[in-house]
Subunit: 231 residues, 2 copies
DNA sequence: AACTTTAGTTAATGGCTATACGAAACTAAC
DNA sequence: GTTAGTTTCGTATAGCCATTAACTAAAGTT
């Protein structure tokens, strides 16, 4: 006989959520963000559309949950790559590579996460990712400070903002070092955004070598050793 | 009496197109890309929705026309800034500034142009802009070549693609110089994309000083004189 | 066994794209 | 000036979508 353990209902509910997420993601990959409709998901599940409102209060909420899930997946991959990187190598390199690996393996998801009109208004789309990489750069800085531009080469307006950000993040990096970090972050994100949005196709058939070259230059700027990908 | 000149119908038609474009853009700015619907435009015009199909064969076509119009506007601003820049200064600087000026003045349009799921699949979204700036860098190169990385520091896979692109664009820039150009282009686009997509808010309240610093560094890389904005 | 909660149904509203068809207006040729 | 053809618009319609309301059946609870 089957015992009616108390958590059963929740387990079933969880399974339905999982099914919804899976189908939503599948639709996103196959047909873009506009294809992720409540109707389509319900249809694929063999359910009526209004039934899905037992699980999400609105279409928006469903998309938000999907975004959050993808966000966690990417953040997880990056964190995992950082942890797994051997003691000899710098975690930052592995994290940057993990980010691109995920982005190119899942372009639709990456676009949805970073360039969707849906999240654009919600602000700070990828701020937490920035923090993730900032912490790594701060670790490198603590270990051995890298060269920074002279303070007087930065405009007062910029210095002021860098100081504020430095303070806001607990002074882990001095303002001028913060500029080095931001520069690198913009380059990494820039290449990834542009590659996924196909804004580099006009010049490069495959952006991987260019990305690696960028990482090499960033390692040089941070005075850490660059190691090629091990295959 | 009113003469029935032959061009009248075309004039009216042109006016309707202009009205559609204006309303479409207004809706884009006010409510994002999803607000640009045939119905909403028709409603604002006091027309029935099907009537708009006399002007555009589909919703997609309308959005494509809107994108093309915005594209032309931005390209025009950039070209104009390049022409108007005084003989003492480098056009490239003015063009980069014009691009950011437009982007920040019209964030909704810029997002629609560069980060919309609509154009992402259509490929080479902003390739022509890259060409625009490439020509400027080539002009600088012809005038006085800037320092380039040693060929052996670039991976063969990257060198090969740079060679191909160099050839494809008429050899205006040698492959290693092409890498310098691409690096700069990624940084400029990266900052702009991230600023408009609010991916820099976590660090910078105002991205303008950071953008100017980026331009300063690019000028240094291209061995041209950086001039602050004249006010 | 009675009550409550949960998960699903159908029906209905209103917005959207898109097509088909008809009426009016305009154009041009006779 | 009349007539035939073209262009532009409206109405009607079909199909998709989100969302709500009312209802039902099953499962869990007491």
């Amino acid at each position: 006989m089957i015992p009616s353990n108390p958590g059963r209902r929740e387990r079933l509910r969880k399974a339905v959520f999982a099914e919804i997420h899976g189908l939503a993601r599948h639709l996103l990959v196959e047909g873009g963000p506009d294809a992720v409709t409540i109707s389509a998901i319900a249809r694929a599940m063999g359910m009526s559309a209004p039934a899905l409102y037992r699980y999400y209060r609105s279409h928006r909420d469903l998309l938000a949950a999907l975004a959050s899930q993808l966000y966690d997946e990417l953040a997880g991959r990056i964190a995992l790559a950082g942890e797994k990187s051997g003691t000899a190598t710098v975690p930052l390199l592995a994290m940057c590579r993990a980010m691109r690996t995920w982005a190119t393996a899942h372009p639709a998801e990456f676009r949805f996460l970073f360039a969707s009109p849906f999240l654009a208004e919600a602000s700070d789309a990828g701020s937490a990712f920035g923090e993730l990489f900032l912490e790594e750069v701060a670790r490198i800085w603590r270990h051995k400070s890298f060269p920074v531009p002279a303070t007087n080469t930065l405009s007062p307006a910029l210095s002021e903002q860098l100081c504020a950000y430095s303070q806001r993040t607990g002074g882990r990096l001095p303002p001028v070092a913060m500029h080095v970090f931001l520069n690198g972050w913009v380059r990494v994100c820039g290449v990834l955004n542009m590659e996924v949005l196909k804004q580099l196709d006009f010049a490069l058939a495959d952006a991987e070598p260019f990305y690696e070259q960028t990482l090499k230059e960033l390692c040089a700027a941070l005075s850490v050793q660059y190691l090629p990908v091990n295959r």
